[in-house]
């Protein structure tokens, strides 16, 4: 067992984990933050995307120990109570989700893009989403949502 501590959504947490425990497992099973999802086992689908130290990372592809001391944020930390984050609001407004399973990863990936590029083009967004799979929307409305969300975040 190994001791880890980190900040998750602004809250300091610590715990004992087996060395092999993946970060997504720590978030979902130990912290009960079940908004971060697991959709594959080959780092392809991006449903587990979170932010670590401000960068979008796939939490299924790193050990909990690698996040020791890090600032982690997950989908649960984005909204301010009932007030949605502009990217969440854009997904809602543009019907950028259907079943909702890929959505947390999409939103976390999108906010990371918006921090680098305040007004991404359609091509920028489509290219950026190479690490996130959605089976419901055909991406059309996700792309619209991210373009609008990025502008709203940087307005």
């Amino acid at each position: 067992m190994q001791s880890v501590s980190m900040t998750i959504n602004g809250k300091h947490v610590s715990g004992e984990v087996e060395g092999r425990t993946l970060l997504v497992e720590f978030l979902r099973e130990h912290q009960r933050l079940t908004g971060t999802h697991v959709g594959c086992d080959t780092s392809q689908c991006g449903a587990c995307t979170i932010h670590m130290n401000g960068e979008a990372v796939k939490s299924c592809t790193m050990l909990t120990a690698q996040a020791d001391g890090a600032e982690v944020s997950t989908i649960e930390g984005l909204a301010n109570g009932d007030e949605l984050h502009p990217m969440q609001e854009a997904f809602r407004e543009h019907h950028g989700l259907q079943c909702g399973f890929c959505t947390p990863g999409m939103v976390m990936s999108a906010t990371a893009l918006a921090k680098r590029n305040s007004s991404p083009s359609e091509a920028d967004v489509r290219h950026w989403l190479e690490g996130n799979l959605c089976r419901c929307t055909g991406y059309h409305n996700i792309v619209k949502a991210i373009m609008a969300g990025a502008r709203a975040m940087n307005a």
């Binding site: 959709g39 997904f91 079943c99 909702g100 419901c136 991406y139 059309h140």
Partner: protein, 787 residues
């Protein structure tokens, strides 16, 4: 003024807040007190005898609670998984229906076939012990495709000496052959409808729980139809009565058909939870999903179309081989027969249609319904061969189609393949699509591509589907072992808010919003004051779930019928309050009025009166305001439309770029246009995926080659363009909302449109031999450079 949250409004979805904030409640998010974890031991072989399964080492490992094998199921009389549809061969014999044990008994028949289940305190312990179960397999030759199965390279089931499940036909072959002999033109086309894997992003999950105090079994599962699972598992597999078996399907992360079926893992965790007296959770990983979720499509077809000298279709003859996989999944036999051959008239007046369908067992995962189920295969056959015919006789493909369309005034239209189309305007959607893509400008765009060294093609797909599944008497006569009606319960609360219970299930379709919009429109209650409950057999009277674009057409119709009853009772209460006859009461915008007077009672006051019945017509009515309705549809619904794809091919690399895609669909009346557009987008993406990217590959002997997202090409954002979608409204004449269904259209229409565009572009470069889906760069390049 129409309501801004009523029928026809693009209302933002009520369910989205919880999803965008990570508060959805998917099955894997649930944990039960004292929960254990299951891991399955699965066959790495396509075909083998099970000589022995030795669990002795595994049983002693840390945390192991129990291990069960196929023998344990036999010993406790757990039955195999049932098939929900019986098809008869043309000689009258029933299909070959081999047993499908939940854990293999004697033999394994596909990679991923479950041999044993290990239950342990943690998932890690369960997996470690599963690795330690020693299975002595006697490897046998396997058949990984229908060609190998037909050649008898191995025998999958003892009951099927030639690996054939059935040999079915629809129509009169002699009559068709005679008509074909007289045709001025006969076009023949071999087609492969590639095998696909549905791949909802949420993998399947099942949690079994048993309450020792009440004797109630509960299954939490990722299902599109919890009542169907309760019926199949309770009555056929485990022998549990409905009142002691609860099935819950909470938020489900996409289904696309593959979460309709009853799977072995559901039965195992439910049964074993009662054995070990603790909850058991099983979560599929993606690799497991690839080798256990039912796959889709996998047809090989030879189609022949006869035309007269003017281009009128005379006869269509289709010979199809359909892969069933190793066992018959829940609806598998119906997909290539009643959901396929009955659609082969398409949008056309073709007077004679004949189909012969042979189904085969192979050493592959079972194949069953995937978005569209049979109807995409039918549309692909028709729309590919019609395009081919246009090319062969030198007619514009739009004109050839228009010439043969069923006319708008010909409805109801009886096809030669059993179905009666209810309404439509096929020339209308074709024209809309032509305008949307600027068909007249195609020649100039093609010339510009050519000047840039590229090949450009355009392809039509004028599809039709049979949705609103289904009239129970009809499907019963065709071999279905269930009725396919739907149920809705409308509970008006004392203060006028409303809870709806529906037997349909939303896993992305937005029922919580659209069903609430129907209530808003009818009762004048804001959608904020309406809750839609689904997915729990203990909460909902009954239901057959969501598939076949049926939720609004069948479930919404049940809701409309229940609302009729609510309104009728509410009118009587209002009449009593206003001291008038209920026949004089009018109800509009949430207000009950008497024409010609200023008397008025609000809906909320009627609701309150129903529950606080001080001044109430007790001699005539019971207190309360809650009504329920079952709705069994009079006919299928027939959504139809025209999709057009335009592609550009780089001849140097074989890469196909989808330059433009337009869709003009007729779904009848529309409740929420935003949601309908989203459904069409998603369907198109899956159809384009089938045409250009996706293909499940097995080797000759049945080893799965595409076993992960590294090998199976899922459509990604940069593989697709934005889509232009529009709708025409020809209401469905036989259901109360006039709706037809929209969930499958894109997946049905898109493959033929894209492949007609690809083959058209290649033909312009002199390649006349069509290629099959998926049109990958290597396949396209090879075809271009072989010529």
């Amino acid at each position: 003024m129409p309501r801004d949250d009523g029928i026809g409004a693009a209302v933002r979805r009520k369910e989205d807040f919880r999803f965008v904030t990570g508060q959805g409640s998917y099955t894997d998010d649930l944990n039960r007190p004292g929960q254990t974890y299951a891991a399955f031991v699965r066959s790495p072989h396509a075909h083998a005898t099970l000589n022995s399964v030795n669990t002795s080492t595994a049983a002693t490992m840390d945390g192991v609670v129990a291990i069960f094998t196929g023998q344990d199921l036999l010993d406790t009389e757990v039955n195999g998984l049932p098939c929900g549809w019986q098809v008869h061969s043309k000689d009258g014999e029933p299909m070959v229906e081999p047993a499908h044990p939940a854990l293999a008994q004697g033999k394994v028949r596909h990679v991923g076939d479950a041999v044993a289940v290990v239950i342990a305190e943690t998932l890690g312990q369960a997996r470690a012990a599963a690795e330690a179960v020693q299975v002595d397999y006697g490897e046998l030759p396997g058949v990984g495709n229908m060609t190998a199965a037909k050649a008898g390279k191995a025998q999958v089931h003892e009951e099927a000496a030639d690996n054939q499940c059935y040999d079915w036909e629809l129509g009169d072959e002699a009559e068709i052959d005679a008509a074909m002999a007289k045709a001025a033109h006969v076009v023949e086309l071999p087609l492969v409808n590639n095998r696909l894997i549905a791949n909802p992003i949420e993998p399947r999950v099942a949690i079994g729980d048993y309450d020792t105090a009440t004797g109630e079994h509960t299954l939490f599962t990722t299902s599109q139809n919890p009542h169907v699972i309760r019926l199949l598992m309770g009555a056929f597999v485990l022998g549990l009565p409905e009142h002691k078996l609860r099935v819950v399907a909470p938020d489900v992360g996409g289904g696309f058909g593959t979460k309709i079926f009853h799977y072995a893992e559901e039965a195992i965790v439910t049964w074993a939870a009662a054995k070990v007296r603790r909850p058991i959770k099983w979560t599929s990983d993606r690799s497991e999903a690839f080798m256990t979720d039912a796959h889709g499509r996998d047809h090989e077809t030879i189609a022949k179309l006869g035309l007269d000298a003017d281009g009128k279709f005379l006869a269509l003859k289709v010979q199809t081989d359909a892969n069933m996989g190793a066992y018959l999944s829940t609806f598998a036999p119906a997909v290539p027969t009643y959901l396929y051959a009955t659609l082969l008239a398409g949008q056309y007046t073709t007077p004679l249609v004949y189909a012969n369908v042979r189904a085969w067992f192979t050493n592959t995962v079972p194949v069953d319904a995937y978005r569209g189920a049979g109807r995409p295969e039918a549309a692909y056959v028709i729309e590919r061969i019609v395009e081919e015919a246009a090319r062969k006789i030198g007619m514009d493909p739009a004109d050839l189609r228009t010439k043969n369309f069923v006319a708008p005034d010909a409805f109801p239209y009886q096809t030669p393949v059993a179905l009666e189309y209810d309404s439509g305007n096929y020339a209308g959607t074709l024209e809309m699509a032509k305008q949307a893509i600027n068909y007249d400008g195609f020649a100039a765009r093609q010339a510009a591509s050519k000047a840039a060294g590229k090949l450009r093609g355009i392809g039509f797909s004028a599809y039709i589907e049979a949705c609103g599944i289904a009239p129970s008497a009809v499907v019963g006569s065709l071999g279905a072992r269930a009725g396919l009606y739907e149920v809705a319960n409308v509970r008006v609360h004392p203060t006028g808010s409303v809870t709806i219970h529906t037997g349909t299930h939303s896993h992305g379709q937005g029922h919580e919003t659209t069903f609430a919009q129907v209530i808003a429109e009818r009762l004048g209650v804001s959608i904020e004051n309406v809750d839609v409950v689904h997915g729990d057999t203990n909460n909902i009277p009954f239901g057959m779930g969501t598939y076949g674009s049926r939720s609004l057409a069948v479930g919404g119709s049940a809701l409309a019928k229940a609302l009729d009853k609510v309104e009728a009772k509410a009118k009587k209460i209002a009449a009593h309050l206003m001291e008038a006859s209920d026949t004089d009461v009018e109800f509009k915008d949430g207000q009950f009025t008497i024409a010609g007077t200023d008397k008025c009672v609000a809906f909320g006051d009627v609701a309150l009166t129903a529950y606080v019945p001080h001044n109430f017509p007790h001699d005539e009515l019971e207190p309360g305001l809650e009504e329920q309705a079952f709705y069994d549809p009079a006919n299928f619904t027939f959504p139809a439309g025209c999709h057009i794809a335009e592609v550009e091919i780089d001849p140097d690399t074989g890469t196909v770029t989808l330059a433009n895609f337009v869709a003009a669909d007729d779904f009848g009346n529309i409740v929420n246009p935003m949601i309908v557009e989203g459904q069409v987008h998603g369907g198109i993406a899956q159809g384009v995926g089938q045409a250009l990217l996706e293909g499940c590959v097995y080797d000759e002997e049945g080893q799965l080659v595409t076993g992960s997202y590294m090998d199976y090409a899922m459509p990604r954002a940069d593989n697709l363009p934005n889509f232009t979608v529009d709708t025409q409204v020809t209401p469905c004449p036989h259901n109360p909302l006039g709706v037809k269904g929209c969930g499958e259209a894109g997946a049905i229409a898109a493959p033929a449109a894209v492949m007609n565009a690809v083959t058209g572009a290649m033909r312009a470069a002199g390649v006349t031999k069509p290629i099959d889906m998926p049109a990958t760069p290597s396949k396209v390049w090879a075809a271009l450079h072989a010529s």
